[in-house]
Amino acid sequence: MPAIPLSSAPQPAETNPALIRNFSIIAHIDHGKSTLADRMLGITGVVEARNMRAQYLDRMDIERERGITIKSQAVRLPWRTDGSDYILNMIDTPGHVDFTYEVSRSLAACEGALLLVDCAQGIEAQTLANLYLAMENDLTIIPVLNKIDLPAAQPEKFADELARLIGCDPSDCIKVSGKTGDGVEHLLDEIVRRIPAPQGDASAPARALIFDSVYDVYRGVVTYVRVIDGRLRDHDQIQMFSTGVKHEMLEVGVISPEPIPSKGLGVGEVGYLITGVKDVRQSRVGDTVTTATKPAQVALAGYKDPIPMVFSGLYPLDASEYPTLREALEKLQLNDAALVFEPETSAALGFGFRCGFLGLLHMEIVRERLEREASLSLISTAPNVVYHLTLEDGREVEVTNPSEFPDGKIAEVREPIVRATILAPSEFIGSIMELCQGRRGILQGMDYLSEDRVEIRYTLPLGEIVFDFFDNLKSRTRGYASLDYEPIGEAEGDLVKVDILLQGEKVDAFSAVIHREKAYAYGVMMTGKLRELIPRQQFEVPIQAAIGARIIARENIRAIRKDVLAKCYGGDITRKRKLLEKQKEGKKRMKMVGRVEVPQEAFIAALSTSDEGDKAKTKK
């Protein structure tokens, strides 16, 4: 039996680095990372069969409901190969493009990566993206073909593709089934054989990289580290490199897969620290932990801060819940360094926050967690990107809220550009190119991964893909295309702000920054939508779309002429009174735009993309 009980396995702080293997499991979304992790937990014996459940490491409700991983999870696994006992530190990572940042943090704690490919699907956009990330980190890559149990599996075909991609021999690909466990023991053995042991100086001053920092109501901040040099011991006084702040270490340990306190952590080991601090900002991801008694002189490389790509205003439906929203955002931010927010005020929606997200899925998840965990009802404005403007007087302005886009005197507008990689069966090339062209894309290149599969590269304005690009791509390719993108900078764009006016009054929540050629279509769409959504009022309400002072589209809501129920008998009286009272309550939930009463549903519906419903379930 290669599984060994934890108690007789090498102990934390006393494990020879030569016996340690640190690796991440990376793949395109849904290719089976978490399921493979399950088998590893089972086969190495750290989770007993009776406690096992599918995607064991996806612990958040939202992860379980959506069936996707959002946060990386590190687990210490004991494993005996070739007669020696080893310690494997496995990190399961998310596959969705919004969480690439999470993957790159995990990779920095590892020497190797398992690049998983679902062998019924083949190589997809995030397979490539994650492979390149691993290569940038100089990791040893083990190609793994997963789901070989599927009838539609084509392991031979994809072994060839994968080998060509990585530059190895097809026979180097390991075939497994995360579902049945087939091949997983062999894979564990290969991890030991192929992935190098961590290198580090055990006698040097301690240096550990913080790769995650999580706030826990019971334990305060739990900091996840990978020790590079030296050793962290229980009750050591530790010091954060960036701030110089010192903390008592109350607990140190490893995750297996529940936290197990230990005497310390040695070179190459992955584990957690608890210091009693309550704010994750004092234990920042990317910072270096050292000891106060013998501090290190040089910090580890750390990470680039994630940059928010998509912005949206979040407003409580009920204005009195603004403080609750603030608290909830602050709490969420403790575990989500990528979330940024600052207060803003909208004439139409009241007090709220402008929030920055990594992408649409991230935005949806944050919103859902706020609503669920703080019982809030929220309105969010349509997602937008960040614009940098040079005004005619030479001033530079950054705009994250379209309603703040200046009305004139602009010399130049720059918008974020991404490099997008689309993988799809070659039969869809035409259709994909048409889509990208329509979104102001510039073709950068195209490669055949195999006879019938292509990789198409475009640069595109991010603003063109945050809306409904992915849904469009999926429907044009019957679901077969995958998309990855990464920011590559900014480019000038012919962009204008379209305002929406109700009865001559600007509704800030509906302002949008749009390419000039699409402004008219947007104006027509939005005024038409609002005409349907806003009930008739006591007076006529013109709805206009305007660029500056120029009206580009208009609709009209006629004044209501009849608002009375004709019949009112004895038995109708109670019913009618209740109806009027209910309508009166409904009025309270109306937002006033000037004198116009706009139902909240109208805001929600007007601000949502038409296919909101299924997007929530869509994966990239």
């Binding site: 006591q538 006629r558 209501i560 002429r561 009849k562 608002d563 009375v564 129920l565 004709a566 019949k567 009112c568 008998y569 004895g570 038995g571 009286i573 109670t574 009618k576 009174r577 009027l580 009272e581 309508q583 009166k584 009025k587 309270k588």
Partner: protein, 381 residues
């Protein structure tokens, strides 16, 4: 103090598609018989028992109006209805000029039954005509054949009714403005003293409501109904009727005093299955199904299903909501300051008649009548 009485007769030959009244067809009652009269005997007995209950509770009070509604009261023989009238007279006594109305379906009466109804004491009759256009009646899913309407209204006149009323419904899908105009002309050609005209309400749980929800029929634009209302008011006024409630017009002295009692929050007792009652700020309503109603009466219990006591606020809302619909309007000095500001705004927009306004009453103008609910909502918000 006097009392108004409503008597509910919950039977119809067939249920009309738009109707959500508490009414049952013989088929629904599973009596295996087509004759409503045969199922109704026990029902009348129960009504008589409820009269005893009422008398005990209200004490001595003369009855000033009685209204038999339904359902189709005229499906029962006049002598059965007379049992109820007689008992009311015995137990309470009727005021000298007591108004006694029955609703009637034109199909359910003829010259001789109308004569009988008059003889047993009814002095007012209200015919449910709705429309004379066959295609409109078809959408309403209503049986009667409009040819008989003229005949029975004339018969009612001959029988000696003091007041004759006709009910119309407008705004039925497929009804053009001309269609409605024709129904109206026809009604006005009859020897009537009173007219009620209601814009069709889509009631949930009806056959018609389901068809609307499924999109099989499409309700007309409110603007079109508004147009019909304006036409209605113009024609009816020209014919010598005056509005006294926003869906009711009458010749001088022919207002329905029973309905006025409802709208002025007088006391009334509703007898029968599902009937609503109101006595000085308390409302209750009876068990809905006639069988359960009869059973609970037989068991010696109260037939009431539920009740509510109106708070002062509820009463104020009801007063506003009911009185604002009436020609007599509502005194401005009843309102609080901020409510007056709201009303003032509506006045500026021409929703109230200037003369009445200046003498301290809010009385809706023609445009105002069409927006009565809006006015109420704004004032109570």
């Amino acid at each position: 103090m006097s009392l108004s009485v409503y008597v509910h007769i919950p039977y119809c030959v067939k249920r009309c598609g738009y109707c959500d009244f508490n009414t049952y067809t013989p088929g629904e009652l599973r009596q295996g018989s087509d004759s409503v009269a045969s199922v109704a005997e026990g029902y009348i007995d129960a009504l008589l028992d409820e009269i005893e209950i009422a008398r005990e509770q209200t004490g001595e009070q003369a009855i000033s109006t009685i209204f038999f509604g339904g359902g189709t009261p005229t499906l029962l023989p006049a002598k059965q209805l007379a049992r109820v009238l007689n008992r009311l007279n015995e137990r309470f006594g009727l005021t000298e000029n007591c108004e006694i109305t029955t609703e009637a379906n034109p199909d359910s009466v003829d010259a001789s039954s109308l004569k009988e109804l008059r003889e047993v004491g009814f002095n007012r009759i209200s015919f449910g005509v709705q429309s004379v256009k066959p295609h409109v009646l078809a959408v309403l899913d209503r049986t009667h054949n409009s040819n008989r309407v003229g005949e029975v209204v004339n018969d009612a006149r001959s029988a000696g009714f003091d007041s004759i009323s006709v009910d119309l419904i407008y705004g039925t899908p497929s009804e053009s403005v001309t269609d409605f105009s024709e129904s109206l002309d026809f009604a006005l050609s009859l020897p009537i003293d009173h007219l009620s005209a209601y814009a069709l309400i889509v009631e949930e749980g009806t056959k018609f409501g389901a068809a609307v929800r499924r999109g099989e029929v499409v309700m007309p634009d409110d603007d079109e109904s508004a147009e019909k209302y304006l036409l209605l008011d113009r024609k009816v006024s020209t014919a010598g009727f005056e509005w006294y409630e926003l869906s009711n017009w009458s010749k001088a002295g022919h207002q329905c005093r029973h309905n006025e009692a409802y709208w002025l929050s007088a006391d009334w007792w509703g007898f029968g299955a599902g009937a609503h009652s109101h006595l000085s700020g308390k409302r209750w309503w009876n068990i809905k199904h006639p069988k359960s109603y009869i059973e609970s009466i037989k068991a010696g219990g109260s037939p009431a299903a539920a009740s509510e006591t109106l708070s002062q606020k509820d009463q104020a809302i009801e007063d506003l909501m009911l009185r604002i619909r009436m020609r007599s309007g509502i005194e401005l000095n009843r309102f609080e300051k901020n409510q007056l500001t709201v009303l003032e705004d509506f006045y500026q927009r021409g929703l109230f008649l200037p003369d009445s306004w200046k003498s301290g009453r809010a009385v809706l103008s023609l445009e105002g009548r069409l927006l009565a609910d809006q006015v109420v909502r704004e004032v109570i918000s």
